[in-house]
């Protein structure tokens, strides 16, 4: 289906070489996964196969065929015939990958209109219905008339796949097809892709996550700095990795499962405790209960994990813990003293004890302020640091989060995602807190960067004796880090207990579903 020998891709300007001497082939009904961190060149490789590299890019290869065509000499009209008809692309988030102003049916019909111009309208509409049924989109007649934003993430992704299949391509390039989805939905989309593979379609799967590709790929290529560092059958690569980078990636995926959990909670008085927290929001007349009865105790140096899918109320819990929102009923106590419901002026003097790290910290930095100013503001609040000692303290904080001092002059939007999270952590540490609330602190990052930031958090916890509330949708991360877990669904805590018990014997069906999806994805990697 695809034959590539010594492919090089040069980007215009300072970007340089994106892909450097890559060779592989793909047969019908086969799935090759390309795995690597962002910037490794995997997306550029995929774009080159479909002729959608940015302007000024140079693509050169000894051999480069797709579906039997030599694409090196292709002009725009050749590409237009190939795209959609022979090769199709499924990209990350269907909310933005589908034209938001057009109905699902129109979007799915478009490749047919392009490649089978003479097909009568009625036949085309029948085909659209069949395609929607093929990707198991419930109620296809209704869905065809809806717009992308009216569908859930999983259904939207199915519609995107249906559109990609519409003109009967033999090859599907799936670029991070499940990254934007919750774990349980991820598993379903992967199953759909597996069915397509069974039916003889070749799949080129691109992902940053080994766990995702493990269940689908026949062969896996690990990509780093534009090169394939290792290509092997999936089972071999996952069980007997040869290249150090592959091992690092595997370790990052497995780390969460293995990382040392702190010894079982000390019996000391809790530093933070919540009792039956309830919070509702009004939205156009309806009242939505975001959080319905959350209770837990956090011991000094302990870590509580809160797990759930997006929209389950996790973030609201974080805001209640920080005292940014008032609970409708229930209480939060900090060191045994009332924390929720007291006036902000009383809370302000105690705020230093509990600090928050967001999923995406970009918005939490004043866009006009440099890293130096951001940290200085937090350090200045610390009375124990004299005016003269402030710069020294800022340096100390940077060293604690393992950032070079050269970043002091940068503004938040000039930092990478990982650097930003570290600055956010440094700012929180400047207040010398005893509790950190972490709301999906690594979800927006690449796997490897994720691993590094998690390592940092674990070591800070040990050094500084921090207690943590760790909020995540990722069971693996929570399992490695927490000694107590709450599972949330639609604002309710469906299960709560010691981490090991909960993972060994999940009681609630939803917990089992979450775990099942998680285990299925990792099954081949065990």
């Amino acid at each position: 289906m695809i034959e590539v020998r010594s492919l090089r891709i040069e980007l215009p300007g300072a970007a340089g070489t994106a892909v450097d001497g890559v060779s592989f082939s793909l047969a019908p009904g086969e799935c090759l996964a390309i795995v690597g961190a962002s910037g490794a060149g995997k997306s550029m490789l995929a774009r080159a196969l479909i002729g959608l590299t940015p302007g000024g890019t140079v693509v050169a290869a000894e051999r480069l065929t797709v579906g039997g065509f030599d694409i090196r000499a292709f002009g725009e009209s050749d590409w237009q015939a190939l795209r959609g008809g022979v090769v199709s692309l499924v990209s990350q988030d269907a909310l933005v990958a589908l034209d938001p102003l057009r109905r699902i049916g129109r979007e799915v019909a478009e490749p047919i209109e392009i490649h089978e111009k003479r097909m009568p309208r009625a036949a085309r509409e029948r085909r659209v219905q069949l395609l929607l049924a093929r990707v198991a989109l419930p109620e296809p007649l209704l869905r065809a008339r809806q717009y992308p934003h009216e569908l859930s993430g999983g259904l939207r992704q199915r519609a995107l796949i249906a559109a990609a299949l519409a003109a009967g391509p033999a090859l599907l390039i799936a670029d991070e097809p499940t990254t934007a989805l919750d774990v349980t939905v991820q598993a379903k989309i992967l199953r759909l892709l597996a069915e397509l593979k069974e039916s003889g379609i070749a799949v080129l799967l691109i992902s940053h996550d080994l766990a995702v590709v493990a269940s689908l790929a026949d062969r896996i290529a690990v990509m780093q700095h534009g090169r394939f560092v290792e290509v092997a059958p999936a089972a071999t690569l996952l069980t007997a990795p040869q290249h150090p980078y592959t091992r690092e990636l595997l370790a990052a995926a497995a780390q969460h499962r293995a990382a040392g959990v702190t010894e079982q909670t000390q019996a000391a008085a809790p530093v933070l405790s919540t009792h039956s927290l309830v919070k509702s929001y009004r939205s156009t007349g309806r009242t939505v209960r975001a959080v319905g009865g959350v209770s837990f105790d956090l011991a000094a140096g302990g870590t509580v994990g809160i797990v759930g899918e997006s929209g389950s109320g996790k973030t609201t819990v974080a805001r209640l813990l920080l005292g940014i929102e008032r609970p409708d009923t229930g209480t939060v106590q900090l060191y045994g003293e009332q924390w929720s419901g007291v006036p902000e002026s009383k809370r302000r003097v105690r705020r230093r004890q509990i600090q928050l790290i967001h999923q995406d910290s970009l918005g939490t930095f004043d866009p006009r302020h440099s890293v130096r100013r951001v940290l200085a503001e937090a350090v200045t609040l610390d009375r124990s640091v004299s005016r003269a000692a402030r710069l020294g303290r800022i340096r100390e904080l940077l060293a604690q989060v393992e950032l070079p001092e050269t970043l002091l002059g940068r503004r938040a939007h000039e930092l990478s995602g990982g650097q930003r999270q570290r600055v956010a952590i440094a700012r929180a540490l400047a207040r010398r807190p005893s509790i950190l609330v972490l709301d999906e602190p690594v979800s927006a990052l690449d796997v490897l960067i994720q691993a590094h930031v998690l390592d940092l958090l674990v070591s800070l916890r040990q050094q500084l004796g921090l207690a943590m509330v760790f909020i995540s949708h990722d069971l693996a991360v929570v399992r490695g880090l927490c000694d107590q877990v709450l599972v949330m669904k639609d604002g309710q805590v469906v299960e709560q207990g010691a981490t090991e018990d909960l993972f060994r014997e999940p009681q609630h069906p939803f917990t089992r579903e979450l775990l099942g999806a998680h285990v299925a994805a990792l099954a081949d990697g065990q």
Binding site: L52, Q80, L101, P111, S283, T284
Partner: protein, 317 residues
Amino acid sequence: MKSSGLRLSGLRLLGRLGGMVLVVWGAATVGFLALRLVPGDPVDVMLGVRAEVSERVRAEVRADWGLAEPPFVQYLTYLGRLLRGDLGTSYRLQSPVAEIIGSQLAPTLQLMALAMFFALVLALGSALLARGPRSKALLSLVELFAVSSPTFWTGLVLTTIFGFGLGWFPVVATGGLAALILPAVTLALPVAGIISQVFRQGLEAASALPFVETVRARGASHSRLVLRHTLRHAAASSITLTGYIIGSLLGGSVLVETVFARPGLGRVALNAIINRDIPIVLGIVVLAAVVFSLINLLVDLLYDRLDPRLATAAVYS
């Protein structure tokens, strides 16, 4: 599902109609209040500058506006008259305001319509044609000039060049189409500049959206991409300008009609302002409020059709 959607859009339509009534009522009230704030005898205010009129006319003014009554009753009388479509009487010109406006409406509408046509052709044409980086840079420079030059100046320059210099067009209003072209172009230029800017930015923003890659990956040609996809996004962003555009055409017509010595609503308004013929000014304010709120209503409805996300967004926000 469907019926609730229908009921919802019905409710929103009702809400918007209510908003429209509110705008017109607000404009009428502000006009009335402003009138009462003008120092001097209300009768003199109504009569305008150089009002040497008989006591009979003064009595007529008092009766029309119920000036013997308390202010609140005057206000109600005024609103009642507006509701019946009676815009009052210009005592200076000795005829009903509605009649004066009606008689001068046609030339201004002609001018605005032709200007709108020129502006759309110029703007859409140039935005669609300019595809390379160099032609885009040139276009944005031309746009900046068009938007920044005051209409009264462009009018004079065009007259100097094409009227006096080349003699292609008449320099005075003859009533024919030839005499309409220069004024319409003058009025159209800044509007074309703005439409072109917004439309081009809309097209560029739309072609940077992620779905464009999906569409191209389906094998769509450039023209299909523009015509079936991005054009609609750009149109949705430009359509909100409609109210602003009609507004600048109407405001600009005051200047253009003066520059080219054409008859029309703009001249009526200007003369009313200079002579302080308050009933006409009030009439124009109320009329403008009705026109603008009608346009905004239409734009809102059109925008919903172009961007289905808004209809649902309103429910959740």
